[in-house]
Symmetry: C2
Subunit: 368 residues, 2 copies
């Protein structure tokens, strides 16, 4: 993997050269990890001018810093506690004679930025903007392999839960059990807080588990994902509790299923992101649910659970091959519950077999 | 509780008046929650000039926003998705005629700050600095009651774990089980990622659970805490696995115990924060462990797990009554393991009985 990180940093160096910047200071943790192989808490990565240096706070003992860095990155631990790694890295850049340093203005706070200026008053600070996020969009084979394993773990955890007795258990307990099972199967942890929603809560976007217990007749919707080596996937499924679903439940499920399938089928290299959103959204819209839908029908995944691209009506840009995204439409009827169906897929050309589905748990409406 | 929040906002308004600011824009989540009673993801609170407004992103459906705000706060949901609540709040302040707006420069990124400027170019932005963090230092009775319950939950979860069989189980599983038990007993969740460290990992600050299994003869150190209504406490204990500890284990334990007791006994209103650090640190220092100690011997807790005051050699300021802090010294011997003992206490005068210990699990060296 080390060579991979060197290639990534080299691409950022090219971006610096094009911008006329001597060096770039990367502070956003997912970006640091992408370029250096690891991102100890509070660390910052200086790319160039002379060398690449990962600056780590002096607060953690060496064995807790998790600092196994990629080849070609020098590890620099601050000698004293309480220091700011980004400020120290800016000082290193200035000492090395950098005249212009590109920083992540979308990550640095105003106060930290001011501290950078004061440590290197003669160095010009500019904005590296989303240069690293752009690099992260298209995944390489190692990254896709991590996402595939993350999805496999997620499917296993969900599959085991479905074999257990659900009635009478609380949303909170089911969520904890899913997270335990993710770790059982090799996840570093959950990719995001697991959502379990029952009855009237089912299908609500971003629902956080409560003490409500599963009851007969409920919709039950879950959303979970594994973090495997930093790579995060997402699955969402909705079930019915009891011997057989009501008609309104079947109808709502079929509708969301159709919307989600339309979104999945729109995932092709070259497709506009907003077209994918539209494909799923218009199915729900034409059934009269347009007003209350979530603002996107899917989003990129990788080292962060919500990264570019966004699949939303206002999204600019097109999909490329090897971009992993979710397709996650849902409808929530206040007081009654609802349905949400969510997969992680990798965009592939039709010649390559079309979109690659990573989360393979069935999307039939199961009555549990 | 609502009146409490109004009083807190009124104190911030006084600070604004003293600074000549028309209004304050609070974006740091713990500060928003402290002043408004709740802090939905991505929200921002405008305090003044005419009224107090909690601005929430339009992305979440109403039932997922968790927006039960305190009396006297108007809830304003952005009409469209993807908007920035802080930027919208700055716009509201400008429309209301505010000439100067104090913002949290230690929380806003450079990019967001620029967006604020562009939405209200004639309004002067200044720095509210740590005004709200200062207000949060001394806790009221409601806050202390939440911390007491958080500590009770934490003691229960730890106590139950100690009754179970530990040998052969992995750090990761023990950590997950502790977190499940926290929720079982009423926590909203863990206050921070639970640390379980065995054998050579024991006693290492900030250790993240691995797949190492508990073995006979190990030191086992755990650090956990409950989040109860947003308030977070912390406990750390170290045990020995097997019938009886080795002599070196007993000696190291006694040493850290002495250091931790010295720190606890130094907690009095008016004590310098660095004196408390010194009291604990010098015990370890004089035994020859001074070089590898963590940079603080304790820290404040509340709506965040690491808040002011810091108990460190360079800390300025004195302790007040009703300030909850941890005292958490430890020693880690690379390759062998170590000991960490950590309590949450509330600073009280001697007339009030001295420091109030919230985490009451025994600090005897248990052989499990």
């Amino acid at each position: 993997m080390s060579e991979v990180h060197a290639v990534r940093r080299s691409a950022l160096r090219d971006r610096c050269a094009a911008g006329g910047w001597a060096a770039a200071l990367i502070s956003r943790p997912a970006n640091v990890r992408y370029l250096a192989g690891s991102a100890p808490a509070g660390s910052a990565l200086l790319v160039g001018p002379a060398e690449d240096v990962l600056v780590c706070p002096g607060d953690l003992p060496p064995d807790a810093s998790g600092a196994r860095v990629a080849d070609g990155v020098r590890l620099h631990r601050l000698p004293t506690a309480g220091g700011d790694a980004a400020v120290a890295a800016a000082g290193l850049a200035a000492s090395a004679g950098a005249e212009t340093l590109a920083v992540e203005e979308h990550h640095l706070t105003v106060a930290r930025h001011r501290a950078l200026v004061s440590v290197a008053p003669r160095m010009r600070l500019t904005d590296v903007a989303a240069a690293v996020e752009q690099q992260r969009l298209v995944k390489d084979e190692d990254e896709l392999a991590c996402l595939r394993i993350a999805a496999e773990i997620t499917d296993q955890a969900l599959g085991e839960l479905l074999e257990s007795i659900l009635v009478g258990r609380t949303e909170r307990h089911l969520a904890l059990e899913l997270e335990r099972r993710l770790v059982d199967h090799g996840a570093a942890g959950p990719a995001f807080p697991t959502s379990v929603a029952t009855g009237p809560n089912a299908g609500a976007a971003g629902h956080l588990p409560t003490d409500r217990r599963v009851e007969e007749g409920d919709f039950l919707s879950v959303r979970l994902g594994a973090d495997y080596r930093g790579y995060r996937c997402e699955i969402g499924r909705t079930f019915v509790i009891g011997p057989s679903p009501d008609n309104w439940q079947i109808d709502l499920y079929d509708l969301v299923f159709d919307a989600q399938r339309a979104g999945r089928e729109a995932l092709l290299p070259g497709a506009e992101c907003r077209e994918v959103d539209h494909a799923a959204r218009q199915v729900l819209d034409s059934a009269g649910y347009g007003g209350d839908l979530s603002p996107w029908m899917g989003h990129g995944v990788g080292l962060e659970i919500g990264e570019d691209p966004q699949l939303s009506p206002s999204a600019m840009g097109k999909l490329d091959a090897c971009v992993p995204v979710t397709v996650d439409p849902g409808v929530h009827l206040p007081g009654r519950g609802g349905v949400r169906i969510d997969d992680t897929l990798v965009v592939r050309s039709e010649a390559d077999g079309g979109p690659e589905l990573l989360t393979i748990t069935t999307k039939e409406l199961l009555a549990l």
